[in-house]
């Protein structure tokens, strides 16, 4: 067992427990976008930050990847943590506003303004889909390519992968595919988006990448009326 201090409590956890798991176990909520219990931790979204150490030597680490260590002093809700989290959420809103998960999280953490320029990304590169495919579906149909700002998710050779069994696991887990709730004030009350959709994957590939019906793109509002129907 490992002994550490979590928000002032002396706690004991099993070896190989991460700080996020420890906090969860003790009922402390930490926001996490790229984490899923069933998948290996990845440390990409940086929302699960916690502060470790004290005084001048304290620093922020992602709790989903950081292993519990003897004597570690962990604080999950310091001013520094909350400031960083809020700014990251603001950045998420500015980057991928169509995600319901992100919108919900922003509201929950009191992020009400966005000072950055608006972008409309459809993917936040959290890697959940890649890990879902590889670790739970035993496929390796999708992965990352490029680094830095050019990084993105794709299938090998940008072609429909032989490995893909069309299970839809990737879409199920994607936090960016959860369309924003439009609310009763929506300008156009009739959406109809799921009728006659051209799935956005057809912008990139020769054939549809899955046979989810309806295509979740409707919820994204990115699908357009098209000649193509299933």
């Amino acid at each position: 067992m490992i002994n550490l201090t979590l928000n002032g409590m002396e706690i004991k956890v099993e070896k190989r427990t991460t700080l996020l798991e420890a906090a969860k176990f003790y009922g402390i909520e930490i926001p996490a976008l790229c984490y899923d219990e069933a998948l290996s931790p990845y440390g990409a979204c940086r929302l699960c930050l916690v502060e470790i150490g004290t005084g001048n030597h304290s620093r922020l680490v992602s709790s989903c990847t950081y292993p519990a260590r003897d004597g570690l002093i962990v604080r999950t809700h310091t001013e520094r943590v909350i400031k960083a989290r809020k700014l990251l959420l603001e950045l998420y809103l500015a980057t991928c506003p169509s995600s319901r998960t992100i919108q919900d999280m922003a509201s929950k953490h009191g992020v009400t303004t966005v000072r950055f320029k608006q972008k409309n990304e459809e993917c936040i590169l959290c890697g959940l889909c890649v890990r879902m495919c590889a670790e739970q579906m035993q496929g390796k149909a999708i992965g990352f390519v490029n680094r830095g700002i050019k990084r993105r998710i794709t299938a090998p050779f940008a072609k429909k992968s032989e490995e893909c069994r069309l299970c839809g696991g990737c879409m199920y887990i994607c936090p960016a595919c959860q369309a924003r709730c439009q609310g009763p004030q929506e300008e156009n009350p009739v959406c109809n988006a799921c009728l006659n959709l051209s799935p956005p994957c057809l912008d990139y590939f020769q054939e549809a990448m899955c046979y989810m019906d309806p295509c979740v793109a409707c919820e994204l509002g990115t699908g357009r009326k098209a000649k193509f129907t299933y």
Binding site: P67, L91, R147
Partner: protein, 621 residues
Amino acid sequence: MNVLHMRLKTPDDLDKLRDDIRQKQEKDKSFLAVCGGTGCSSSGSEKVREVFQQYLNRHNLKKKTTLKFTGCLGLCERGPVVIIFPQGIFYQKVQESDVEEIIEKTFLKGEIIERLLYQDPVNGEKFIYADDIPFLKKQKRILLGNNWLMEPTSIEDYISLGGYQSVVKALTKMTPPEVIAEIKKARLRGRGGAGFPSGIKWQECYDAVSKQKYFICNADEGDPGAFMDRSLLEGNPHSVLEGLIIGGYATGASEGIIYVRSEYPTAVKNVKTAIAQAENLGLLGENILGTGFHFKISVSTGAGAFVSGETTALVAAVEGRLGEPRQKPPHLVERGLWGKPTVINNVETLANVPYIISYGAENFLRLGTEKSGGTKIFSLVGKVNNTGLVEVPLGMTLREIIFDIGGGIKNGKKFKAVQTGGPSGGCLPVSLLDSPTDFEKLNSAGSMMGSGGMIVMDEETCMVDIARYFLRFLEDESCGRCFSCREGISRMLEIVEDITRGKGSVEQLELLKELANVVKDSSLCGLGQTAANPVLATIRYFEDEYFAHILEKRCPAGVCRDLIRFSINEELCQGCDLCLKKCPGEAIRGEKRQPHTILGDKCTKCGICLETCKYNAVVKI
């Protein structure tokens, strides 16, 4: 005698071999060193060497002298460089056509050829001997010094200069804990970036219990413009091998791996040659010199990326996986290469090890500051008169390096800032010129030692533009996993670009600072954690320049294109038509011998008219 075919079984064998080589080389004490370093090669030193060789062959002078194609001599700016030994006469910018004269006059008769001498860029003084040149005189070249005296691919040269004596000393007279104690006492700190005390790192690996341990030498050198590690590997590969063998012995590793970026083919070739030579002599491999210590070294190459120099990414790359960093802990001594305890040291760090073992920690400490011993190699580039590699005792002030060694700012311009620590370092202003270059001082000033890049900037450099330049580099070089790093850098760049276009606001500047601190705080690896440095340091020291861009829509240095305008002073313009003909945008109008004007909407702000005008009539405002 072909040393490659003998095997040394004891330390005495090595001593005997050294004596033999020295005896043989005694007669050619005189030799010609032609620099084959990166800089000189690109200015044609290979051709110069060939012509030398042909001339010596043709005139039967081969017995009288040897020609050495050496590693980098440092003054790359003045390449190709030739030094004539034993006197140490230094010739610069040597052309193929100079070869005959050098041999006939200087080598055979000892006469000096004025025109090839090094001339001080500031006061015009000429120097005959290498040791007198201020650029070299103020340096302390314990790592680079031997580059002059040997062919990188000649193990005979290296041995005759005392090579592998430190390995003998460590393996036969010291226990691993004693070696580690010596390194700790020397206060050797990592030269690859973080400046971590090497002794402590070695100790942790020594303490780790495992049958298999690895020692990796980091030669990824991703810092643009830096070539310290490259010069060491190309110019004196055996010194790095020696450091690696001693490191392996001290930590209990039985395998060393040198990870070199494949963009350094000469380094890869010279290191591989060196390994083969050392193996053949029994200085590497099974039972080294009969001491019972086994150590092998292999070379691993990969497409160089800045981020793969980070230690965990490096391990991934050596294992053949994608070179991406991972969370530490577990540290590399707990879970390193193939899951085994692993130490990673930088090339230059390892090159220091033989010196420490041979000359002792005291002598090493005498060179540095209280907290860290030894020298540091900087790659001095930018708007400075003498660019090249300089090796100085740690703690020398920036002023001494830039003005005494570097010869001051080019073209008599004023010094503005110096960027240390590479892309994730920071720009330091005039007021910090007298601060010493040591790890702590540079960190507290908001920059860092990094691996030793040093870019000098003059008054015509815009600091906002500099921040933009480094952010753009980092935007591509981040691995892209962390949202804070990937998106954070790109958004910092977005704001900085707006500012350079005169579209920034004070609120945006505040947001930039806020974001910079979050990127620094919340990213996984060193790249993201330092990516905000160029922004934070330029804001810290040159905030008025940011304000000039934001409030006055003016770029004080005249760099940011959207904020400058070219115009012609009617009084000075002679109507010569030169600028009109050269202007690629056809933006200049005017009759011959009448004052010309520039049409603002057509001007592309290339600045060609300014360079062209002989009457200084074109002004930038």
